[in-house]
């Protein structure tokens, strides 16, 4: 590869480079004593970095003929970049007041690294760059889990996450080795257009997709989620609930759909996706019914949403349409999930960690803080999928695609999805129920929500409603 080609490649993923540089800058600034303790300066630097990246994304157009190489800039990259920036902005706002002062620079830089990793994943057109992007997400996550949450449970979740993440990466690489063996190239285009060794390609794809299930917290790689969510700091968990999901969805989409719509080996994986979707959403929703801790409920609710995303992925693979339903779903998911986390950072007491995550925290929230209660209610209605919220269209599009796939198995999955949506409604409505009931006698005052999480809540609520009217 000549230097000019390398430069060309880097230009393709310019927004990601900007985020990476911003992350390095924040980390470096953290070394200087005065600045390291000033969260506003570091936060502003991160936000400015994201804005610059946004300008680059805005100015980019999907390229008709991507140059051969590690990265390409297609529609998926652009929409995934917007998702990244949206999710990243919300995560930074949520963590603004919440992260312990001495870890501020690590927090911001790791989040920025994760975001750039996500963009690299979305731009990847080669197995190596795909893996690079995925690792750039999971390594900062491990650091964040370990550094920001310093309790014992935090260490436990760090270890758990690290081991499982390494395990999943190994599975993914194992699948990749089969793909390389079948096609003789690591380029995704070559793998997809490869006619010989279909059987080997299928096995490789199945294994690699299973490796990516970890990012999606799909069954059977879901069980780290509740433990990690319960142990880690909320600011990290917020990011963890959203960013890896985007990576997982984008990765599976790249492997299975790629640039050609009828990719036979990809179609062969569809039953695997459907089964995983059904099991994941059913288990997620049913398990959420029995939880007594908010964080675990949210973890299982995330698992359930992964199930819908997998069903959407299966539809996209079969119909050969763009990833638009997936990005729409992810965008709606971002605002509705992160809104709940933003509310949670405001009402959870960091000191009393043992009872902190009991469901009782939500009791009578409306009396204690009407603004937070209404923001949370909008987010939860969106998670159920009721109009007038963004979640309504998100679910509806997956339903419509599943019915439109002309296949009986898809119609059965659609029906199971509908039943699941109703089970999910029980979970989310019980939160609403708690918020509007009488507060407990021993309920503590809600800390006045800081500007940044308040802004995050407001932004999420406005977007949730707005995206209903202008999808």
């Amino acid at each position: 590869m000549t230097p000019s080609e390398i430069v060309q490649q880097l230009v393709v993923v310019m927004p990601a480079n900007v985020l990476l540089l911003a992350g390095v800058l924040v980390l470096t600034l953290g070394l200087f004593g005065q600045l390291a303790t000033n969260r506003n300066v570091l936060g502003l630097v991160s936000i400015i970095g994201m804005m610059v990246a946004a300008c680059f994304v805005y100015s980019m157009l999907p390229m008709a003929a991507p140059p051969a190489g590690l990265f390409e800039c297609d529609r998926l990259f652009l929409s995934a970049s917007w998702l990244t920036l949206l999710g990243g902005g919300l995560v930074i706002l949520i963590g603004w007041d919440y992260v312990p002062l001495r870890h501020v620079s690590e927090y911001y830089s790791c989040v920025l690294f994760m975001l750039s990793g996500l963009m690299y994943t979305a731009a990847a057109s080669d197995l190596t760059s795909l893996f690079l992007g995925l690792e750039l997400i999971s390594i900062p996550t491990t650091v964040l889990l370990g550094v920001v949450g310093s309790k014992n449970s935090g260490r436990e979740s760090t270890l758990k996450y690290f081991t499982l993440s390494a395990f999943a990466s190994a599975i993914f690489l194992f699948g990749c080795s089969y793909l390389y063996g079948a096609a003789g190239s690591t380029s995704l285009d070559a793998i997809i257009s490869n006619e010989s060794n279909i059987g080997l390609t299928r096995i490789g794809l199945a294994i690699a997709v299973c490796g990516l299930f970890f990012r999606l917290t799909a069954v059977p790689f879901h069980f780290y989620a509740p433990d990690v969510f319960a142990g880690a700091s909320l600011a990290v968990v917020g990011g963890l609930s959203f960013l890896p999901k985007v990576a997982g969805v984008v990765g599976i989409y790249k492997l299975l759909v790629g640039s050609t719509p009828d990719f036979q080996a990809g179609l062969a994986i569809v039953p695997l996706l459907l089964v995983a979707a059904v099991v994941t959403m059913t288990l997620g929703n049913c398990a959420a019914l029995w939880q007594t801790s908010i964080r675990r409920v949210l973890a299982y609710s995330g698992v359930a949403h992964s199930g819908y995303l997998l069903a959407g992925l299966a539809c996209v693979v079969v119909l050969g349409q763009g990833a638009a339903i997936l990005t729409d779903y992810l965008a709606a998911y971002a605002v509705m999930t992160l809104a709940v986390f933003a509310v949670l950072t405001a009402i959870e007491q960091p000191q009393a960690a043992t009872q902190a995550d009991s469901l009782k925290l939500f009791n009578g929230l409306y009396q204690r803080s009407p603004f937070l209660a209404i923001a949370a209610t909008i987010a939860l209605l969106s998670q159920i999928g009721l109009p007038p919220t963004a979640g309504f269209w998100a679910k509806l599009q997956v339903f419509a695609s599943a019915i439109g796939a002309h296949r009986v198995d898809f119609q059965i999955v659609a029906f199971i999805m509908a039943i699941n949506a109703a089970i999910g409604a029980v979970v989310y409505l019980s939160f609403v129920n708690r918020m509007f009931s009488q507060p407990d006698a021993d309920a503590t005052e809600v800390r006045s929500a800081g500007v940044a999480p308040g802004l995050a809540c407001l932004g999420c609520s406005v977007l949730t409603i707005l995206w209903f009217f202008f999808p």
């Binding site: 109009p387 439109g404 509908a418 039943i419």
Partner: protein
């Protein structure tokens, strides 16, 4: 444009009033504003209904709007729609005669509920009235939707205000009841989405999926289905029947209803029973009958005919055993809805026409009954039905008069509205399934029994025993006067409406006659092997032959066309 205003005014007005809660506006001012909003909407509703009655249907499909509103900005481009239809989906509002009748009913009911609620609801009246306005807006959206998406959005969006109304103003069990109501409904309506998309899938045209009802109905009437598509249609039918049946509280799916009705404030119950229930029935008319024709013929008369008959008799028997007035009325309402189900699934002109008329009638009498209950509640210690708290008629003669009037109307007295509707539905069914009709008639007798028993205990029973213990122990509630003037006006106009429809049913039936024929003619063609009947001037003789709506007018009145 008028349609948009009709839906927008209560929806936006209610939301603004709700938001003004923190704006420091007095409750009294908000109540008056709410009344003004509903008055404007009612006037608009009457104007729209008049327009519909004058306009000819657009298009030949079985769902043909008389007036339609579908501007450019309602074009709607979902990502999922991209694959099937490059233009996206064009949403549209429209009204045919059946929709117009429901719109008018909704507005009449909402107005009545708002007026009565002002003096019977005790706390946070401003909020309560705003929620009613929002719910009204959602209902109007359902009744004037001309595409599947708007129908579904309206269907779901009403849940939010209803949840607030049941939970916030009910009794101690209100919250549990509201949660149960919403969850039960969601359990049916989310699978219903699959059914709705199933309709799109069944009747897809050349250009991919459409959600526009008249287009789909056009396809439905011209297409010949394959065996596989018929199988799919059975599923679509079952899914729709599940969602709509739960909302309508058809008998095996009715278990949410008694708890909800008993726990809610009577004005909320009035709104629920009179119009929210109609959403489900309206869905049967709008979606099930035109789009799942083959399955309706296969399952409809037997399944829903018997379910309806069971509802009529079972509901009446359970009502007879109730000790609580709102529970008694709840089961009585269940029993009356049975007639509508029977009429709809007789799949005949008379049946569907009678059912549509009965949907309107049931709304009027039910809202009156539950509102009277609300008026009694502020004059009685409880709504329990015991002999010690009788004798209300001597003390409140006007209240007594209206209660007797509406009880008689509900029991099916000739000359009043329910008689016409019930007769038509039964006469529609009698040619189809005589046995069903036979069972259903029993319900009329039982209905009279429990209603008159209630009259005896509550209105005419003696209150001497209670008086002996001291007057204040029984009839000592916040209100001791008879009905105030505005209540008399509301109940009086509702009573006049009952009388009017009872004496001159043709004016009401004329509004939706051609639409009912549009739905029923495909069934008629199947059954009798005839060419479809349409109302046109070329065949005056046939017009009279197959014009049972006119023949069954009650009291042998001469009815001119």
């Amino acid at each position: 444009m008028l349609l948009l205003a009709l839906i927008g005014i209560p929806l936006v007005g209610g939301s603004v009033l709700l938001a003004l809660r923190s704006g420091g506006l007095e409750d009294r001012t908000r109540e008056q504003l709410a009344l003004a909003i509903i008055a404007i909407s009612l006037v608009l509703g009457v104007v729209v209904t008049y327009q519909v009655s004058q306009a000819a249907p657009i298009g030949q499909a079985s769902i043909a709007p008389h007036i339609e509103y579908s501007p450019k900005w309602m074009r709607f481009n979902l990502a999922a729609a991209l694959a099937t239809n490059p233009d996206g989906w064009q949403l549209s509002l429209g009204l045919d005669g059946i929709g117009a009748a429901m719109v008018l009913l909704t507005l009449i009911v909402a107005t009545a509920v708002l007026v009565i609620a002002q003096s019977t609801v005790s706390k946070n009246r401003g909020d309560y009235l705003s929620w009613i306005l929002i719910a009204t807006g959602g209902l109007l959206l359902v009744f004037s939707a001309m595409d599947l998406l708007l129908f579904y959005i309206g269907f779901e969006i009403t849940l939010i205000p209803l949840f607030a109304m049941i939970a916030g103003w009910g009794d101690a069990d209100g919250f549990a009841a509201a949660k149960r109501f919403v969850l039960y409904t969601l359990l049916g309506s989310i699978p219903m989405v699959i059914g709705l998309f199933g309709i799109c899938e069944l009747y897809r045209g050349e250009g991919g999926w459409s959600v526009h009802m008249p287009t789909l109905a056009e396809h439905a009437s011209t297409m010949v289905l394959t065996a596989q598509q018929k199988d799919l249609q059975v599923w679509v039918f079952l899914l729709l029947a599940l969602g709509l049946g739960i909302k309508t509280a058809i008998i095996p799916l009715h278990t949410w209803l008694p708890t909800t009705y008993a726990a809610s404030h009577p004005t909320t119950t009035a709104f629920l029973a009179a119009v929210v229930l109609k959403m489900g029935l309206f869905g049967f008319v709008r979606l099930v009958l035109p789009y799942t024709r083959e399955t309706c013929e296969l399952l409809g008369p037997d399944l829903f005919g018997w379910l309806g008959a069971i509802a009529i008799v079972g509901g009446a028997l359970v009502a007879l055993a109730q000790k609580d007035l709102s529970l008694m009325f709840a089961y009585s309402s269940l029993s009356h809805v049975g007639f509508i189900t029977i009429g709809l699934f007789s799949l005949s002109h008379e049946g569907i026409g009678g059912a549509t008329l009965q949907m309107f009638n049931h709304g009027i009498t039910t809202v009156a009954m539950f509102l009277l209950l609300a008026c009694m509640l502020v004059r009685r210690p409880s709504l329990r039905l015991d002999e010690e708290a009788g004798g209300m008629a001597t003390q409140f003669p006007r209240l007594g008069f209206f209660t007797v009037f509406f009880i008689i109307a509900a029991a099916g007295m000739p000359g009043l509205n329910n008689f016409v509707g019930e007769l038509l539905t039964l006469s529609g069914m009698i040619t189809e399934r005589p046995a069903v009709t036979g069972v259903a008639v029993l319900g009329v007798v039982l209905g009279a029994w429990y209603s008159f028993r209630m009259l005896q205990y509550v209105l005419f029973g003696s209150s001497d025993k209670a008086r002996a213990k001291g007057r204040s122990s029984t009839i000592s509630e916040s209100v001791t006067a008879d009905l105030p003037i505005e209540h008399k006006a509301v109940f009086g106009s509702l009573a006049l409406l009952c009388l009017f429809i009872g004496v001159m049913p043709n004016l009401a039936i004329g509004l939706f006659k051609s639409d009912v024929e549009g739905i029923a003619h495909v069934y008629a063609r199947e059954k009798r092997g005839q060419t479809p009947f349409r109302l046109d001037a070329q065949s005056p003789q046939r017009l009279i032959d197959s014009q049972p709506l006119v023949q069954t007018a009650p009291l042998g009145l001469e009815v001119e066309e």
